[in-house]
């Protein structure tokens, strides 16, 4: 009986935290209103943001009453994951409301757009040519905060007792400083600093201020929402493409690595295994794609190289900007892009995918295993991987976790592709589009359209959520809720 009361108490705390985070969501939803300053003729859309924001704020406030007064309640094991998943779902739900209130999209499409924004995917069912600017800005703002994560936003503003557990549950793996609140603030300032720098560079090279802000946010958060139909390709400008490539690479780099880079330790930055692996992949993939397949389509080798560099970085960083369409591409470059989308960006960054670090670890483990076959059986050696915070001695546990994740990732991929195939899309298109959803990339081969059947959109929504929150977290949260509910029902029946 006492255990039972404790369990209810712990859910009170959980609901309270969900409330606080939902209030923050409400605050975030008011940010697009600043667009009115630049475009006063869009004043008519204001209520579409204020109503959902007020609803989110009110819901959050009511829930947060649960933790007012009583502080010392314990969160039970793994309840942190429940909080994180619930908060992300609520955030996506409230963010879908502006699109519905303005009658631009139905519920499925609006929710798709919101999830695509929060998970920094960038697949879109919105027609950017007719959509008012305030909604475009709202999409970018979702990506900005979705990139760093809601928990991190909360932590940088106010600290909580369970901050560390929530922080881990949201998939942040790194400690930049020996203090959580300070780490969160450092991450926020690195991130915001890059966004501002990116905006300035874009403006210098001829983008309008509004587009510059949107593209800078979308590149850094590896989101990929664009204000143009042809994405970055609309500008036909080499400097803008170069800036975008740099921003995307920055966005896909681990924040701890950024700290190493900013503090001027260039040598230890270049030593980080993940960074080396990323450079190696780019160095391999770009020339292969440029010379083997693209120069036939785009005329010259130089043009092929430019396009391939941009697309490869966009895919690997899971951003999803594009300079060209994929319709006339041959299967080989499509295949390369799919592989890179599956690998994805750096751990502890804003990117998705299996993550470079896990792939790197598995490649290394394979090489170590090979080497071990030629060495004496009783040899004692230590396998080391360089991480931003220093050397990490690799144990069996690390490798099995990484390969486990990769396995379940592939299973999710095949399930999603299966659903798409059942709806009549070709294997190549399905594979591309779902790899893009699951990796929160946002490159589209043409499946994601306003006319797409709802079941396909929902499959992609699930894929995007799994991709952003890292598959385990959603599983753990689901199992936790199921178990607790079952226990409650069993107790109720006993009485």
């Amino acid at each position: 009986m006492q255990l039972n009361r404790k369990e209810i108490g712990s859910y009170k705390v959980a609901l309270g935290y969900i409330g606080v985070l939902t209030m923050i969501t409400g605050g975030i939803m008011l940010l697009p209103l600043f667009v009115i300053l630049g475009f006063p003729d869009e004043l008519g859309h204001v209520q579409n943001f204020i109503i959902p924001a007020a609803l989110a704020f009110l819901t959050g406030f009511l829930l947060s009453l649960f933790i007012r007064g009583e502080k010392k309640q314990q969160l039970t094991l793994r309840q942190d994951t429940v909080i994180v998943v619930a908060v992300w779902l609520l955030a996506a739900f409230f963010s879908s409301m502006p699109f519905m209130l303005s009658k631009q999209l139905n519920f499925t499409q609006a929710f798709f757009e919101a999830v695509s924004g929060w998970t920094t995917t960038g697949l879109s069912v919105v027609d950017v040519t007719v959509t008012p600017k305030i909604y475009l800005m709202f999409r970018s703002i979702m990506q900005f905060f979705g990139g760093v994560g809601l928990v991190l936003v909360m932590l940088s503003a106010l600290s909580g007792t369970y901050g560390m557990r929530l922080y881990n549950a949201e998939g942040h793996s790194d400690k930049l400083l020996p203090n959580l609140v300070k780490s969160a603030r450092v991450i926020m300032s690195i991130y915001a600093g890059y966004v501002v720098a990116g905006t300035i560079l874009y403006v210098i090279f001829g983008m309008s201020l509004f587009d510059a802000i949107n593209h800078s946010i979308a590149a850094l958060s590896t989101g990929g929402f664009s204000t143009q139909v042809d994405s970055i390709g609309a500008y036909k400008s080499l400097p803008i493409e170069l800036i975008t490539i740099i921003l995307m690479l920055l966005g896909t780099t681990n924040f701890a690595a950024h700290l190493v880079l900013i503090s001027g330790k260039f040598r230890s930055f270049i030593k980080i295994g993940e960074i080396r692996f990323m450079l190696l992949l780019l160095g391999l993939a770009i020339p292969i794609m440029a010379f083997v397949s693209l120069n036939g389509i785009y005329g010259s080798a130089a043009q092929g190289l430019r396009i391939s560099a941009f697309q490869i970085v966009s895919a690997l960083s899971t951003t999803g900007f594009s300079t060209v369409g994929f319709n006339n591409w041959l299967p080989l470059p499509i295949f390369l892009i799919v592989i890179l989308m599956l690998i994805g960006g750096g751990a502890g960054s804003t990117a998705g995918g299996i993550k470079l670090y896990r792939i790197y670890l598995m490649v290394k483990a394979f090489l170590w295993n090979l080497r071990r076959k030629f060495l004496p059986e009783h040899l004692v050696n230590e396998d080391v991987v360089y991480r931003p915070e220093g050397k990490l001695f690799i144990e069996e546990k690390h490798i099995s976790e990484a390969s486990n994740y990769a396995f379940i990732y592939m299973v999710m991929l095949f399930l999603g592709v299966g659903v798409m195939l059942a709806n009549g899309y070709s294997l190549q298109d399905s594979l591309f589009e779902f790899a893009s959803s699951l990796g929160t990339v946002g490159l589209s081969i043409g499946i994601t359209l306003p006319s797409t059947p709802p079941i396909v959109l929902w499959t992609q929504i699930v894929g995007m959520l799994f991709g952003r929150l890292e598959i385990y977290v959603i599983f753990i949260a689901g199992i936790k809720i199921f178990k607790d509910a079952r226990n409650r029902i069993a107790l109720a029946i006993k009485k």
């Binding site: 901050g163 400690k175 400083l177 020996p178 203090n179 959580l180 300070k182």
Partner: protein, 145 residues
């Protein structure tokens, strides 16, 4: 120095004592670094602990530098060995001039070693003795009643 305005704390040795101190300080929002040469001992830290956990020998000056002892405000020597604690405390206060050094010492006879150092000492055995005396004393009082 009435208020606790120390912010960077290094705890050497992730014993029960060290782990609890580290968890408490970390939850209060301080920067905490715990050193221990056995990765398994970090299990004792509370799940809310957000500081660094370095697997290192805390008597190694290089490791202490890496943990940031130069900017540390407090060093707690909390390993389960008196001699190690003495050494860590002396390194911290002599070489690095850490303003506040706290050490745990089981063996009260060794307190002479700490003379002339600016080191605060916690004697678990003496504390237990005091507590014991208090318990006995209250028992006596109850008997007298």
């Amino acid at each position: 120095m009435k208020k606790n305005n120390y912010n960077y704390i290094i705890v050497a040795g992730c014993s029960r004592f060290g782990a609890n101190i580290a968890s408490m300080l970390s939850l209060q929002g301080k920067d905490v670094v715990v050193l221990d040469n056995d990765s398994r001992s970090f299990r004792k830290l509370s799940p809310g602990y957000s500081g660094f956990t370095n697997i290192a020998d805390a008597t190694d000056i290089d490791e202490l530098t890496r943990a940031g002892i130069e900017k540390a405000d407090v060093v707690v020597a909390a390993t389960n060995d008196d001699n190690t604690n003495i050494m860590i405390a002396q390194i911290a206060s002599k070489i690095f001039n850490v303003p506040k050094v706290v050490s745990r010492l089981y063996d009260t006879e060794k307190e002479i070693v700490y003379q002339d150092f600016n080191i605060q000492i916690i004697y678990p055995s003496r504390l237990s003795m005091n507590e014991f005396e208090k318990l006995i004393l209250t028992d006596d009082m109850e008997v007298l009643k």
